[in-house]
Structure formats: C-alpha cells, structure tokens
Amino acid sequence: MIDILTSYTFMIVALGTVILAVASGIIGTVSVIKGQSLIGDAVGHATFPGIVLAFMLAGTRETLVLALGALLLGIIAFFTIQIITEHSRITLDGALALVLSSFFGLGMALMSFVQGNPDFEGTQGLSDYIFGQAAYMLRSDVYLILAASGASLLVFILFYQQLKIYIFDPVYSRSIGISNMLMNFMILGITITLIAVGLKAVGAILIVNLLIAPAVVGQLWSDRFFHVLIIAAATGGISAFAGTYISTAGNDIATGPAIILVLSAFVLVSLLSARKGLLRRSILKRKVGERS
C-alpha cells in the first residue's frame, strides 16, 4: 500500500484528479442549484468529437491541443442547445438528449474512422477519453488541470458574492447592477473548461458525475451555500484520491469509473444518513405524525 502511495505515477495522477474534483465539485454545485445538471452531461459527451477532430487536424495527441478541441465542441454544443430550445418547440430535455447523442455519435464515428485508417498514427490513446484512463496521465496533463482548476477557482472566489446573488435572485442581481450575462458565461466557461481538461482522467461519459455528485452530497448535509461548497469540494477531493488509489492498486480498473464508484458510495450513504436524507426524513415525519 505504501509502495503505491509514494510512487511517482500515483502522486502525479492523484494530484491531478483531486484538484480537478475539488474545482468540479464547487462549480458543479452552482449548476445543480441552478437546475442545470444535465447541461453538463450533454456538454461532457459533446466534447468527445472535439478530441478526435483536434487529433485529426493537428496530427498530435498533445493534451493542450486535444483539450482545446474539446473546449470548442463543448461551446458549440451549448449554443446548439440554446438555438434548438429558443427557435423550435423542442423542450430543453429533448434538446439535451439530441445534442448529447448526436455529438457523441459523431465522436465514435470519427474515432472508428481514424482507427482503421493508415493515414493516422497513434490512435490507440483516443478511446481513453471515453471512460478516462488517469494511469496514462503525464506531468503535462496534470499541469494543464492545475492551471485550469486554479484559474477557475480564482474567478469563482473573485466573483463569489455576485454569483451568490445571481444564483438566488437573478432579477434582484440585475437590479443592483450585476451583469447576469457575465455571470452565466462565467459559470458556463468554467464548467466547459473543467470538462475539457478532465476528459483524460475521467472520460466524456462520466465527467458529469464529478460535477453533480459532490453537490448532491453537500446539499444533503447542509443548507448554507458556503458549507455546501466546502462539503462538495471535500467529497470530490476525497473520492478522487480514493478512486485513483483503487484504480492504481487493482490493475485493470479505469480511474474514471473507480472515482465515480467512490462518489456514488458517498451519495448513497448521505441519502440514507444525512440530516436532509431519506432515513432521517422518514423518522422525522413519523415523530411529527406521533405528536399530532
């Protein structure tokens, strides 16, 4: 066990996933409270063709290049969702399902095209971006995650008060001179950036869990925004560390799924035992029932 904990690869990978999960836990809390969790899911899936396209165009698997491709497709996916809901009768959940599946389908088609094509070399790493394979993370990958997460957290801290008012009461925030459009773009920009840099670690399919699950745990344990953020960040960080350990120790378990399993365990335990969880609630209800 000590061997793994002190090994260089483990430290690099754990550092990357932990920082990513902490930042995602915080920004994901905002999405969850705003009722936008599924936008993260659709955007997460939609970034995958961006990875393959960037590889095809640039002919390299360099992390930054692929992340930029993912970022671009994430933005395109978001605006596609906006355009569909604003200009057609399709509701938001329909638009999300459409964009999620069609973009991801495009990514899969492109990947199978390049994999069987002699013109493209070094395609074997691309499928790692579907489920995530943190064990293959390089130092440069971790640096990118550190830079993106650090910048995201900095922006979040700088605009914390504004964001808080905007999320709770957008009409009031507008009335006291906060730019709601800026707030919305900031939340979105941070979310897509974290998804783009986190794909290699967690994968396009599962990354939404990193955004949502910590927020759900936080909300179950506290009803103060700041505390929810702290709990979400801690839950994300601890799960990422434990998941990375499990994945490194048990040879063939991909890191993404391992982290998600730990997170899901946290959600399950919280659902059952937290102050606002199911068990306590039903006990509380019974007590109230007895009194009346």
Binding site: Q161, Q162, I165, F168, Y172, I176, G177, I178, F225
Partner: protein, 241 residues
C-alpha cells in the same frame, strides 16, 4: 411635490404584442405611489422597465433628470416571490446581507457593520428570531418580510415593489404598510404594484391607474373615483390608435 421619476412616451411589446403604449407619468418624491390596474394591464412590465430589466421599444425613464441606468443603486427592488430560486441554500441573514452588496468594495465581502445593519433591518421587520432559518422554510408573509428587510439594508431612497401584499397574512400586511409609512417620514419614496382596490386610499397617497396606458394619475384623493376605475377595469382597451 417635486417629481422624482419621470417616464416619457414609454412603449413596450412582447413578441410584437404591445404591453405598454404611450406611457407618460411622473412619480413625486417622498410619495407612496400605487400602480393599479387589471390583470395584463402592464403593471409588472412598467416597474421592470424602470428597473431596466426589460428593454422598451422606445421611451425615456429619468430619475432626478438623469437616466435611470445611472441611478439603479438608489433603488431597492422587492421581487415577486416566483422570481427567486428557492433551492438555493441560504439563511434569512444571508439574503438580507445581499442588500449590502451595492455599498461594498472590490471583493464585496460583508463585514460586521453590514451584519449589524442587516440585523437592524430584520428587527424592523420583526424577523430577527428567524435570522438563521433556511429561507425556503418560511411562509409567504415571512419571505416578503425578509425581502423588505433586504431592501431596507440596501438603504436605498426608492423602493420598488411588485405586489408585496400578494398571498401574505394580515399581520405582515399591516407591518409592511406601517414600515412603508415610517420610511416615508424618513424621506423615502415607494412605488408599489397593488392589486386590492379597497385599500388604495388607506395605504397610498398617490396612484397611477394603468391599463396598457395611463388612465389617470395624481394624488389618491383627486383621481381615485369610480369613473377612473371603471375606465381601467371595464372599458377593455378603449384606447386605439
């Protein structure tokens, strides 16, 4: 009385359906002004236009002769309850502290003085015992008190409220009116969308009767009569041009 808010030829439409047309009005400083009119008369649209939350087709809204966009900090807005995200995990004190935002520097972090101001505002609204309560656990009347406390903490000169008496208990209604009258003594101005016709004379000293356009405006005792009310409520859209 001196004019505080001036609206000149305001026209607003939603998807080409006119909501307000040729609205000209002036609201006197230090008044308690009611905006009254039937459903769909454009009352909320009017105050949202004042708050620059809606972009009008044309028209000019001034406060003290200056464009309203430069005077937003002087206004405290009390929203309708449906406009707020009730899933947001916030305590009563958190919400009232938001009123201090306009007075803060770069990081906007509230300090102890802000907390004292917020607590005083809660005391005024008889809600200090609820300060650590989750906002979503409150009743409609209690929530309305918290929003008014936030407006008081903002220490604005002008209070704009969208149906603050909608769906609240009678104690809260009395308290809101008492606070409104007390703050008027301190020089504040109130613009309130109001839906009960029978209390206009008791609660307000100035009124604007609205149905897409201004039917009547002025001191309550001068314009609050059957003929004006009938014009707004029963002669549906008698105004064509």
């Amino acid at each position: 009385m001196e004019t505080l808010i001036t609206i000149k030829d305001l026209n607003v439409a939603y998807q080409e359906k006119p909501a307000l047309w040729h609205v000209n009005m002036s609201i006197p400083a230090n008044s308690r002004t009611a905006i009254v009119g039937p459903n769909g008369a454009g009352k909320s649209t009017l105050i949202k236009s004042i708050m620059t939350l809606i972009k009008p087709i044309s028209g000019k809204i001034d406060i003290d002769g200056k464009d309203v966009r430069h005077a937003l900090k002087r206004i405290a807005y009390v929203p309708q309850k449906g406009e707020v995200n009730w899933d947001f995990p916030a305590t009563v004190l958190d919400v009232v502290l938001m009123g201090r935002y306009v007075h803060k520097g770069w990081f906007k972090r509230p300090n102890r003085q802000d907390s004292e101001i917020a607590l005083d505002a809660l005391k005024t609204m008889k809600m200090e015992a609820f300060r650590n309560r989750q906002i979503s656990e409150l009743s409609g009347g209690q929530r309305q008190r918290v929003f008014l406390a936030r407006a008081i903490a903002q220490n604005a000169e002008i209070y704009i409220m969208d149906e603050p008496l909608q769906g609240i208990d009678i104690t809260t209604e009395k308290l809101i009116i008492d606070v409104m009258k007390a703050l008027q003594q301190e020089g504040k101005t109130f613009v309130v969308v109001h839906h009960q016709l029978d209390t206009v004379e008791d609660y307000f000293d100035h009124a604007v009767i609205l149905n897409k356009t201004v039917i009547a405006q002025g001191p309550v005792e001068a314009i609050w009569n059957e003929s004006n009310i009938e014009k707004a409520y029963y002669e549906m859209s008698g105004h064509h041009d």
